[in-house]
């Protein structure tokens, strides 16, 4: 089972990697409430795609769990499992748990 702290670290590391890849200056602080989808998001939609792929690969590398994080609500501002760093972290934990079981 993946600890939430591990998932959170993976999300933050992945986010930093995507900022480097797309050449964007990261915001001064990034945390649980950092918005990833919709108004005030720190990434555009393609950045979110890159972030999700990056998180999936890091989960696979670090925990040998193969996950697909995308679902039909991915880009919904209201229900997206990617809407903030914290929500995405919870989604990673849940999805990894399902994949491992």
């Amino acid at each position: 089972m993946m600890a939430r702290k591990d998932a959170y670290d993976i999300v933050l590391e992945s986010l930093q990697e995507v900022f480097v890849q797309i050449g964007t200056t990261p915001p001064a602080s990034v945390g649980e409430d950092t918005v990833l989808v919709g108004n005030d998001a720190v990434l555009d939609s393609l950045g979110v795609v890159q972030l999700i792929v990056e998180v999936e690969q890091r989960v696979e590398q670090a925990h040998s769990i193969s996950v697909t994080l995308a679902n039909d609500k991915a880009m919904s501002q209201k229900n997206s499992p990617f809407r903030t760093v914290g929500v995405l972290t919870d989604h990673v934990v849940t999805t990894a748990q399902e994949a491992a079981s």
Binding site: L46, Q50, V53, E56, Q57, E60, S66, T68
Partner: protein
């Protein structure tokens, strides 16, 4: 060239026919080939690894790609050759048969593209070739659902090219003329002759023809060739 430098290729439907020929062709060219099909295969070389996977099985595809990535850390080329066909008048086609063709030919192609592209994008390089067929553009009676599924593959590939281009991944389609494989062994000879006689080049296709087109699409020099479809035999 060390193993780490050798390009890694995924070929779906590599148990027999065109897929198997291509697996042998690219092993001979120095690729590390990872093949898949529902059945087992042993090419007798350590440069070929087989995965017993149905491309329409999402979890199976994901596990296969994860295994390849773990061992090689890269995927350079994907040849999406796996497909099923069923020659039947549309009035005699059961929904189950139609759904299975769409599942393997369309969803299967999508799943393999999706999961391998995630690996390719990290190295900002990739070549994807999705196999279609001339029976779509020539509107061959008796192949309605199969042709429709392959038309979907062409459209999917054209759009995929735009979605993945920014990461250096090219996506193209290739449609062969009839080739004497198990896929068409049940098709009456007069039907095959009628198709061939309407081609600009009046002969059956060969696995070598397929390799020739793939060689072009996957060449590192073809980095500005994407979203295209090439048909054999003069079909457009």
């Amino acid at each position: 060239m060390s193993v780490a430098e050798r390009p890694v290729m995924v070929i779906t439907g590599s148990r027999k026919g065109i897929g198997r020929y291509l697996a042998e062709h690219y092993v001979a060219k120095g690729y590390l080939v990872e093949g898949c099909s529902r059945g087992e295969v042993d090419l007798g070389t350590p440069d070929y690894r087989h995965h017993q996977v149905d491309v329409a099985d999402e979890k199976g595809v994901r596990t296969m790609v994860a295994d390849i990535t773990k061992r090689h850390g890269r995927i350079d080329v994907v040849l999406n050759n796996a497909a099923i066909a069923s020659m039947n008048h549309v009035l005699l086609t059961p929904a189950k048969s139609a759904n299975r063709m769409l599942e393997v030919n369309v969803t299967g192609t999508m799943l393999v593209c999706r999961d391998t592209a995630k690996v390719m994008m990290r190295r900002r390089y990739g070549r994807i070739v999705n196999f279609t067929t001339i029976v779509a553009p020539i509107a061959l009676a008796g192949e309605a659902v199969y042709a429709a599924s392959k038309s979907a593959v062409v459209t999917f590939t054209r759009i995929l090219a735009f979605e993945l281009g920014q990461w250096g991944i090219t996506c193209n389609s290739f449609g062969a003329t009839p080739i004497m494989t198990d896929m068409i062994k049940g098709v009456p000879q007069d039907k095959i002759d009628a198709v061939v006689n309407n081609l600009a080049i009046k002969r059956l296709g060969t696995p070598q023809d397929c390799a020739n087109v793939c060689d072009f699409f996957i060449s590192p020099s073809s980095d500005n060739i994407t979203g295209q479809v090439i048909y054999l035999g003069g079909v457009t």
